[in-house]
């Protein structure tokens, strides 16, 4: 399996720590204590978490891309995110048809966990910008989708053929339900408010709150939206999965992410192969003076005329 984006050990640790903290921002209703002084916190906690999660997400994204993303991986990220963002409105509005996950799962599978994580986050962000869906929910959606891409990259690498498609389809179904559960969990305290029979009860045993949440999610979405999403994802993976996997693998081969980059004409000792490759923290070509040239803007920089007209 190619890895378009190498995840250094330090990055992995950052990812795990941030994920643990982020999971708490989803599941805090289960753990809120029932002491009087924490009642004030109960109203504050969701707002604090809404503010905290974007920062956590930015940290992880920055860490994953530290040392610079290979331009091929970056272009691939951008293009696949664009495809995902274009696929997303196809399903929106139609009950439960979700067209984002199958490509995310397949791309995470082909390009590795780090790439999958970035793709999930960037896809939803770009899609939100395109369809103007930016709101407090966006970081939570980005993180949930990023976890899906990450998980797809962590599936056993050896599988090929029908077994691979079967595993991916199962994973897609689980991911579809998991995403729905996570987003419901996030929306639960906001959507229902306090005091109804479905609201979380601060200080109640975890199981009790879990029960209430299970009823809430079953009533609102699991049987409709989430099942629809799971069916769409599984069908898409089974029907077009093999062809899409082949196309992605061909692109990965052509991109040759693992090929070492060497500059034969550079005076001085050649860079040992393996050091110049990949995306470790190490700069790719330390011999080149960084200030030798000014970095041009990205391929399509936003610009505007000067205001003095």
């Amino acid at each position: 399996m190619t890895t378009a984006l190498r995840v250094a050990p330090r990055t992995a640790v950052v990812l795990v720590l941030a994920s643990v903290a982020a999971l708490a921002t989803f599941s805090w209703p289960f753990f809120v204590p029932a002491q009087p002084e924490s009642m004030a916190r109960t109203t504050e906690a969701p707002l604090v978490f809404v503010a905290v999660l974007p920062i956590l997400l930015a940290l992880v994204l920055a860490e994953l891309s530290s040392g610079g993303i290979d331009s091929k991986a970056l272009a691939m990220l951008g293009v696949l995110a664009a495809v995902n963002a274009a696929l997303r409105p196809l399903g929106a509005g139609t009950a439960g048809i979700e067209t984002v996950f199958f490509l995310l799962v397949l791309a995470g599978r082909v390009f590795g966990p780090g790439f999958g994580f970035l793709l999930g986050a960037i896809s939803l962000f770009a899609s939100a910008l395109l369809t103007a869906g930016v709101g407090p929910w966006l970081p939570f959606q980005m993180l949930a989708a990023a976890w899906i891409g990450l998980g797809a990259g962590l599936l056993p690498a050896r599988l090929r053929g029908r077994a691979e498609i079967a595993v991916l389809a199962c994973y897609g179904a689980i991911a579809a339900y998991g995403y729905g559960l996570l987003m419901n969990l996030w929306f639960w305290p906001f959507g229902v408010g306090a005091d109804t029979q479905l609201s979380y009860v601060a200080g109640a045993p975890v199981l009790d709150n879990l029960h209430r949440f299970a009823v809430f999610t079953a009533v609102t979405s699991t049987f409709g939206w989430d099942t629809g999403r799971a069916i769409t994802t599984v069908m898409a993976i089974v029907l077009v999965g093999p062809a899409v996997l082949a196309a992605l693998r061909r692109a990965a081969r052509r991109a040759a992410f693992d090929a070492p980059v060497t500059f034969a004409t550079t005076p001085g000792p050649a860079i040992p192969p393996g050091q110049g490759s990949g995306l470790g923290v190490r700069p790719r070509n330390p011999r080149r003076r960084p200030d030798a040239e000014e970095s041009p803007p990205p391929p399509s920089p936003g610009w505007r005329p000067t205001t003095k007209i």
Binding site: R10, V14, A21, A24, F31, P33, S38, I55, A58, L59, S65, G68, S71, K72, L74, A75, M76, L77, G78, V79, L80, A81, A82, V83, I122, S123, L129, A132, V134, G135, P136, G191, V192, G193, D195, T196, Q197, L198, V215, L239, A243, V244, A247, A251, V281, P283, N285, P286, P290, S295, P296, P297, P298, P299, S300, G302, W303, R304, P305, I309
Partner: protein, 413 residues
């Protein structure tokens, strides 16, 4: 989006006097503000809204946000998203009230109507549906929902006013690669439509007039392959333009940034736990969380230094930006003051039922919040930028505005 844009544009194309002469009289040229200023303003409004459940200031805040949006939005696609946020806010309020209606909660004395009770089986936690509906109960749901909806609508105002692509340019250096990927995604997405049309035309020329799933595969897979090939071409173009160079960072500094990020994240984990577990001492809660976040962000900003990039026409933070952002901060601060002075008016009790009241401080909050509708510089509109018809000046020379022609596509940037 486009039909809305044209529908709105019709009204704007009519002015006889060039619109910028009017704003020039006011001493300000139309320009897009730094997106960060709008976001700070909106976050200030949202913070203020989070401090009250009184429907009167909340409704006034929504009105203030709407007025600023209507007066100061451009005509880019995202500028018309505000309506969607209004609808979403209404949905949230309705949902809160309906949930109270169906699942009960928040009992009160003024029972409006009796609905037949439906007890659910034991697996559903012994919940009963419907039952008596009290006014207090519905009002509580309405207040809560309105607060949340107001906060959402304030953020929607930022969405409509701030240019997301310019915001992406302002991200810290450590997120440069990710923001570049987002920019690539935003630029490629429209090209996909063109790609789909091309593949369909090619299929039709080959006589493949399939329908349904087969046609979908016949179109989707070539489009995907096309997009992947395009990404490789794009990568080559980026490489040839020098993208992806990194500065050589000494090992010590790398270790420092890594240590800062890791230590900060550990702090965040501990702080989150402390925030939720009231048995631990208070300093392990929010203070720990903030310190951890600050440490990690410092590490991230330090790591961003190894990214070297130049900015083409960066957004400057000028006096107007300061004023707009200041309005947001002042809104939040005045509301906090109002809360400490008169908490009862900000959280009108649901039982006993009382009529919500406005205080002068609340009116001050709204006045500060709405000020950017006049203080911010007017937006640049595509209708103004369309090349003006060439005017024949009295002395016979043709007059046009060459500088304006270059700004055609700015609204999309």
């Amino acid at each position: 989006m486009t039909d809305q844009a044209t529908a709105d544009g019709v009204g704007r194309q009519t002015p006889v006097t060039p619109p910028d002469s009017r704003s020039a009289r006011a001493g300000r040229l139309p320009r897009a503000l730094h997106p960060g200023a709008w976001w700070l303003w909106a976050l200030g409004l949202a913070t203020a809204a989070s401090h009250t459940t009184n429907p009167l200031p909340l409704a006034l805040l929504v009105a203030a946000a709407a007025l600023v949006v209507v007066r100061r939005r451009g005509d880019a696609p995202w500028a018309f998203a505000f309506r969607m946020y209004l609808i979403l806010g209404a949905v949230i309020v309705a949902m809160r009230v309906v949930f109270r209606l169906v699942f009960g909660g928040g009992q009160g004395d003024h029972v409006l109507l009796h609905l037949p009770e439906i007890p659910l089986p034991a697996w559903a936690a012994g919940i009963r549906l419907f039952g008596p509906v009290a006014a207090e109960q519905l009002l509580g749901g309405f207040y809560d929902g309105l607060r949340l909806a107001t906060m959402l609508i304030c953020l929607g105002a930022a969405n409509a006013l701030a240019n997301p692509k310019r915001l992406l340019k302002a991200v810290p250096g450590a997120l440069y690669a990710v923001s570049t990927a987002v920019v690539v995604a935003l630029s490629v997405a429209p090209q996909l439509v063109e790609s789909v049309l091309r593949v369909r035309r090619a299929r039709r020329l080959r006589g493949a007039a399939g329908q349904g799933l087969r046609a979908l595969r016949g179109i989707a897979l070539p489009v995907l392959a096309d997009a992947l090939d395009r990404s490789l071409a794009l990568a080559a173009a980026m490489d040839s333009r020098g993208y992806g160079r990194t500065a050589a960072i000494p090992a010590g500094q790398r270790a420092l940034t890594g240590g800062l990020v890791l230590a900060g994240l550990v702090g965040v984990c501990v702080g989150t736990y402390g925030l939720l577990d009231a048995t631990v001492p208070g300093y392990l809660g929010l203070p720990m969380l903030i310190v951890g976040l600050a440490t990690a962000v410092a590490g991230m900003l330090l790591a961003g230094r190894q990214v070297r990039r130049s900015r083409y026409r960066p957004d400057r933070w000028r006096i107007t930006e300061v004023v707009v952002a200041g309005c947001g901060v002042a809104t939040a601060v005045v509301m906090a003051v109002a809360g400490s002075v008169d908490p009862v008016r900000l959280y009108p009790p649901v039982s006993p039922l009382t009529w919500p009241e406005l205080t002068p401080l609340m009116l001050l909050v709204v006045a500060v919040a709405v000020a950017p509708a006049w203080l911010a510089s007017p937006p640049t509109l595509a209708a103004h930028r369309t090349p003006r018809p060439v005017l024949i000046a009295p002395n016979g020379t043709t007059r046009s505005s060459p500088k304006r022609d270059t700004s055609e596509s700015e609204a999309q940037r």
